[in-house]
Amino acid sequence: MPSLKQTEQTRSWSQWKKNGEHWVWVNASAVAICLIMVIGLIGLIVVRGLGHFWVNDVQQIQLQNGTLWLGEQIDTEKSITNDAKQKSKTQILYKVGNREEYSLDFKWFDGEQIKNTTKPEWVAVIERYEWGNAYGKITNLHWQGKTYGINEPQALDNALQAVQNIREKIHTIEKNDIGRTNYQLNEIRLERKKIKADNSLNEIQKNKFYAQLYHKEKKISAHYQEIKKELDKHHKKLEEQGYVTFVLSDNKSKQINLGHIVRVYFPNQMDVVDRTLFYFEKLWEFIIEDPREANTEGGIFPAIFGTVALVMLMTLFVTPLGIITAIYLREYTRQGLIVRIIRISVNNLAGVPSIVYGVFGLGFFVYFMGGSIDELFYSFNLPSPTFGSPNMLWASLTLTLLTLPVVIVSTEEGLNRIPRAIREGSLALGSTKFEVLWRIIIPMISPSIMTGIILAIARAAGEVAPLMLVGVVKLAPDLVIDGNAPFIHLDRQFMHLGFHIFDVGFQSPNIEAAQPLVYATAALLIFIILLLNITTIIIRNNLREKYKALE
């Protein structure tokens, strides 16, 4: 009897091949490559993006010629020279701030020029609402008529807190009261146009309405003037708070108005705990604030809000439409050539480049549908469009069209998987076809529907190209949902994280400042898509548990 043990021969290459081990290795490497790519991508974005908010030391750079600079080291590069004999030079990028003095925030220094660098404790960074950061030395503070020296840091904190309070008041007034009155005045303007265009009214009636509107407008205007006065008072107060005397690296002295300061910090004095706290403060600001300075400073809240609102609205449209279509295709039509053609067309729609949907959305939704709505209901406001311009509604409908195939296909697959026995069991109890669908089948396919929605969200949240045609803009501080009745304004344009990446990355005048924001915004976009997906996946898994199909 031959031995069952492996011999030298059977352990050979051919045996290895026979067992298919080489294929196992190929597969494993393919998986490994995918993993490395995904981890690399997310790692790069997260490190570059979220690293942006970390406080770096500010260095004092002394050049060979004696001049002094202050700045944060951002990047080092070896420049390639044409001359082979000359050794390659190192160039170092510093963020030197003080844009109003040096015209650029960033400056390249030749490695050879730098004599030495130090990290003096006295360096202060002043974040301003305009002109970016200022780096330098605070010599003294003038606040409400008194002068404080640098040995009284508490005074600076108090002053900044007071400024902050005034600023918050201004912000509340601007955002709520001014916003509301502007909205109301605009409504009156539209109302007046409407009356003017209404042919069923005679002159006397019109004049009566005009008088009413005039009265109303007067009241609101008076209110507006009051608010404006109040606002001006606060602004004046803000300006009069005082100033910080500040010495730049080249010994030039400046005064910075307290009202223009976001915050002041001393990076070289901060320890790890301070820096961590500061990091989260900056990150939080990035998430909840409106953008400043051509989107290169401040936060991106409107973009986050726009993205989430767009995706939610799209889900709201695409889910019922997809389910109804799939049910009709699968359950009610006779399966024949036409249905097969429809099904193939639907599947192929999923492969159409998204910009094509954008073009379609612009032509059909914006110009045709929006234009028709304007003509029918808002003709008094023409030639300025109401729904006939790119906005949230048309953008979400365009995305609905884009993601519809995914929902239809996965719903149909769910319908295919329902065992015949379940349908017959329900019919045998005397239910009609509709009752079977409504009470048994739709609950049972709900996990498949959710799978479709997950895929739809993943696709829609990342789309930028079609949105540029149908509603996204660079800056839209008015959110789609706000406190003015009717609260939801789908006729507004909106900001979007995907477009924000494009805008900050490619349209920004300040490239070096924008670059980390591109990564940070990308990281946030990934995070939000992840969050949306995880939510739907949890819902799906619950449904799956509940409606386990018969095995």
Binding site: P419, A421, I422, E424, G425, S426, L427, A428, L429, G430, S431, T432, E435, R439, I440, P443, M444, K546, Y547, K548, A549, L550
Partner: protein, 253 residues
């Protein structure tokens, strides 16, 4: 046959496209008795059974001829409401097919379809149906559990409970035990014997012993034809036809 007749077929024929599946069947199924259909695979007994609550309507290319009477009503009359028919003629399938809902909701399903919403009425009926299906003792403390957590035999009794909850006149059982283990089979058989006190039961079975054990009448079908129909004792002891004798003694089939 002293008992009144529940179901009657007259010259019943059924075609799938052009293939004749059932040929000229005439049978009178007595009330509150168990009638078994036996015959080799493909002889049309399941198809025949499904004619009694018009489940064959679901298949596209089926055409039928003849008459089926439930008491004195022609069930293929175009004026018949299929929902009402199916509520009076219940069907239990070969494989248990509970809905992915709770035990309670499964049994209450037929009642909800009828539009009944009264909670106490639903509860009472569910309890009554589960008791009649000999399942109450096993599930009464977990009525809200998913029905798919039950064993196969329990699921089949649940499906029977679901069918009797709508209080039908006739119960059709299509090989109700072929997917079950012997012990569960025994329980279902006991249940069938109990059911015949209130319902007319028609059962399709492959299992000769089962037919002998539970049925009062037996019909032997072969290639879409009714070969013999008689009291079970007579069929099994003194079959008139040679084919019947061959089949029940296991010479073919």
């Amino acid at each position: 046959m002293a008992a009144p007749i529940a179901l009657t077929t007259k010259n019943w024929c059924l075609k799938y496209g052009k293939t004749e599946a059932l040929k000229n069947l005439n049978i009178e199924i007595p009330e509150k008795k168990v009638t078994a259909f036996i015959g080799p695979s493909g002889c049309g007994k399941s198809t025949f059974l499904r004619c009694f609550n018009r489940m064959n309507d679901l298949i596209d290319n089926v055409s039928v001829e003849g008459k089926i009477m439930l008491y004195d009503e022609d069930i293929y009359d175009p004026r018949v409401d299929i929902s009402i028919l199916r509520q009076s003629v219940g069907l239990v399938f070969q494989k248990p097919n509970p809905f992915p809902k709770s035990i309670f909701e499964n049994v209450a399903y037929g009642l909800r379809i009828q539009g009944k919403k009264n909670k106490t009425e639903l509860q009472d009926t569910v309890e009554w149906a589960l008791k009649n299906a000999n399942l109450w003792n096993e599930v009464h403390n977990r009525l809200n559990d998913n029905s798919l957590s039950l064993s196969g035999g329990q699921q089949q009794r649940l499906v029977i409970a679901r069918a009797i909850a709508v209080k039908p006149q006739v119960m059709l059982l299509d090989e109700p035990t072929s997917a079950l283990d012997p012990l569960s089979t025994l329980k279902i058989e006991e249940l069938i014997l109990q059911l015949k006190q209130d319902y007319t039961v028609v059962i399709v079975t492959h299992n000769m012993q089962q037919a002998a054990r539970v049925s009062d009448y037996t019909a032997f079908l072969y290639l879409g034809e009714l070969i013999e129909f008689n009291e079970t004792t007579k069929i099994f002891s003194t079959p008139k036809e040679k084919q019947t004798e061959d089949y029940i003694t296991g010479r073919f089939g």
